[in-house]
Amino acid sequence: MSERVVGRPHPIIDAAEKVSGATIFIDDLELPGALTGVALRSPHPHARVLNVDTSAAERLPGVAVVLSKNNTPDAPFGINHKDEAAFCREKVRYVGDEVAAVAAADEATAREALSLIRVEYEVLPTVADPFAALEPGAPLVHDSVAGNIANEFHIKRGAIDEAFEKADATFADEFHTHLAHQAYIEPTGCAAQWHPDGKISVWGCLQSVFLIRTFMLAPVMGMSADDFRVTQTKPGGAFGGKLDVKAALMAAMLSRAAEKPVKFMMSLEEDLIAMRPRMPVHISLESAWKNDGALAGKRVRIVAENGAYSSLSPAIMSSIALRTDNLYKTPAAEIQGRLVYTNIIPSGQMRGFGNVQATYAWESHLDNVADGLGLDPADLRLKNYTEKGDVSLHGWKIASCAVADATRYVVREMDWKAKRARGGKGRGIGLASCIHVSGNKGFSVELGPDDTDPSSGVVRVDEEGGVEIWSGESDLGQGATSVMAYIASEVMGIPVDRFKVPPTDTGYMPFGMGAFASRITLIGGNAVKLAAEDARRNLLDAAAEAMEIPADELEIVEGEVRAKALPERKMAVGEVVRRVGSVVEGEGKWLAGGDVLDKEKYGNPSTTYSFSTHGAEVEVDMETGVVTVLGVCCGHDPGRVINRLGAEGQVEGGVVQGMSYAMMEGLAPLEGHLRGKNFHDYLIATSMDAPPIEHDFFESMDPYGPYGAKGLAEVAINPITAAICNAVYHATGGARIRTLPVTPERVLEAIEEARI
């Protein structure tokens, strides 16, 4: 590997503006004359909306417009089910549901107007628990959806019954995960400006500027996607939560109605109670084994909490149901999933897209199995891991895989054998692994244009030798656009500090699906790499003419075109562009590999897959249940590291975010009302909680990835929860955490349960 740029540690390209506070986030955006938009949200988990009287609010001086079901069309939207409206119509279905919205001259007036809106509710029985929702006769969240079932499936693959009949041993477990928020520090917001030609500009902290037009703005507002120009402001964290942003719709609708620019900023409380947090799920597992530790088959039953509306939840449930089967050689499986409507905040996608939950359950179960079979948990995994060249039970094609290397690293670095021999005295270690997609074809159909999962890029070299990259894929702060700059710099021989990658903008940038499913490095990176190669060719062709040297005898080094044989014959890239008399451009597009899954969820959803193994060492206070994570050690297979500093940041951030999810987070619904409504009741890890982290990369050099790279964002978070739970199990001599989060109280209960 002789790359000049790729693989080395680099700061992210916009670090200087960020550390000096110069970055303009959505709340910092100045729109002259902008009105303030706010929403009236349901105080009830479930109620019939008998009447909405906005007349007093409309009369308040300074109020430009009040929107509600009274003056907006009945245009339901939703990615999987069209079950959500801009404003509640016949019913409110969760606390936080949008009933009305106001645009006014300032925030105080807007909030006063909200207090003047009279809503007559007939409060209905709340169905907050998914199992209660499945009971016959349970109140219906959507009157037209019998049994409250938003989605269900039942798949049998391989000789599953036989696997269990002939097994040497079988094991069963149940696990429950909680409702947890992305908890980015920047509350969500959007701004919109209606133009007299009927078109609307939208700005916001969005993960996908293109898709928000097609799945939300255009269908609800009865306009074409092209009528919206959507521009990203750099998100202050997103983690999946800023993909499905209703604030964009609120701002756009208010702006159109008021014919003025509108800024719609959510407070932190609104964000916590009315965005789309990580899905809670209840997982029953049974597995069948041979005495030597070979997995023979598994049965999984899932009840997933959809909340009030569906969003991407069916796909998340599917991910929870199938994902872990592809990490191990699984000969047979039976999978049942039911997605259940409840009167709780709609659940959605967060970093891991269900895989955090699935990996927690399965990898916790595996340690119980190892215990039962008398095998070391690391050895059990090493025996069953998938390998390069495998086609999994569900049809996943493993193009590259270094999970075993990652696990061996963790075992070595943590002094695993010696520490496993101890344990049970309040100190223990555990590990867990995961597999994750790098892009997912399913989204391309559900959210995107068709089944291509495309990305495209434009690389423009200007007359000063600067380079701008236009990509439809967005940076969420994770450094995605820096990865693009480093790839293009490598290809073009132009120093990194000459590159700019502006935030995504549908107004002039080529199409991209956006940042989710760990797709950007692989799919966006390939598109930009091709664009950079094209731009390099075009530069060399232009230079060949200007320098009267054949293009194949030229190279670009440090921003200069040089004759390979005569390095003193050279011309700065900017000069080449000036000679051409215009900007020199390159274009590239890349379509993801893999398939859209068939009706039985069979197929290869991603071009390739990434892997990781996390190990944790914990101390458990056996009397209080307080768990201290003493250290984390992990190995990741991202195919190839593009930017080492950024990759390390993904790992460290993912681990702490995962630890935080595992140990302290929770929106804590109680009878339909969330209790984690601020950052002192919704806890996330502080600097004091961050454990020491040691880690390394195991580069499998993926055949499809740019320079061999594949996704890293989500493998960085998936396994840590199970690793911590397995360490607690080891430390306590058998306290198994079956319900998240791992609070002291729950640990103490599990310790007492293990003693019985």
Binding site: A16, V19, A22, E186, Q657, N678, I684, T686, M688, I693
Partner: protein, 160 residues
């Protein structure tokens, strides 16, 4: 509605503004253009709005702006700008201690205050010093490394 005219300096600029009694320092600073002071929790839980108030690091959301009458306020841009970065800022860049950048202005302010008080902090000192600033992206490790490196840089440079 009662309003009051107050005066303070922000990063050396004198500001005169009319404020309401209940207005917070955070809201007022943002209103007059110091948007580098970030608004998130407004309850003192996240530290994104940290500023130096007469040299002491505080959450701007927990101060009535009228209480700051006559004070000197320093925001992240008073600590350093792109062309004149403070060692803490330089090292946050170099060590990768910044991702989305939303918490960063507050982190810079807290780290500067920490180093002003304690020029040779241990890892634990740094952890404690930043305990009021939530970061959701980095896992904190590279921030600790950056503050530690900034301390070394300041000691060697001797001029900051």
């Amino acid at each position: 509605m009662s309003t009051y005219e107050i005066k303070f300096s922000v990063n050396g600029n004198d500001e005169i503004l009319a404020v309401r009694g209940e207005e917070t320092l955070l809201r007022a600073l943002r209103r007059v253009g110091y948007v580098e002071v970030k608004l998130s929790c407004e309850g003192g839980d996240c530290g994104a709005c940290a500023v130096l108030l007469d040299g002491v690091a505080v959450n701007a959301c927990l101060v009535f702006v009228a209480q700051a009458d006559g004070c000197e306020i320093t925001t992240v841009r008073g600590v350093g700008t792109e062309d004149d970065l403070h060692p803490v800022q330089e090292q946050l860049i170099e060590k990768g201690g910044v991702q989305c950048g939303f918490c960063t202005p507050g982190i810079v302010v807290s780290a500067k205050a920490l180093l002003d008080e304690n020029p040779e902090p241990t890892r634990e000192d740094i952890q404690r010093g930043l305990a009021g600033n939530l970061c959701r992206c980095t896992g904190y490790k590279k921030i600790f490394e950056a503050v530690s490196a900034a301390a070394r840089q300041m000691k060697e440079g001797g001029d900051s």
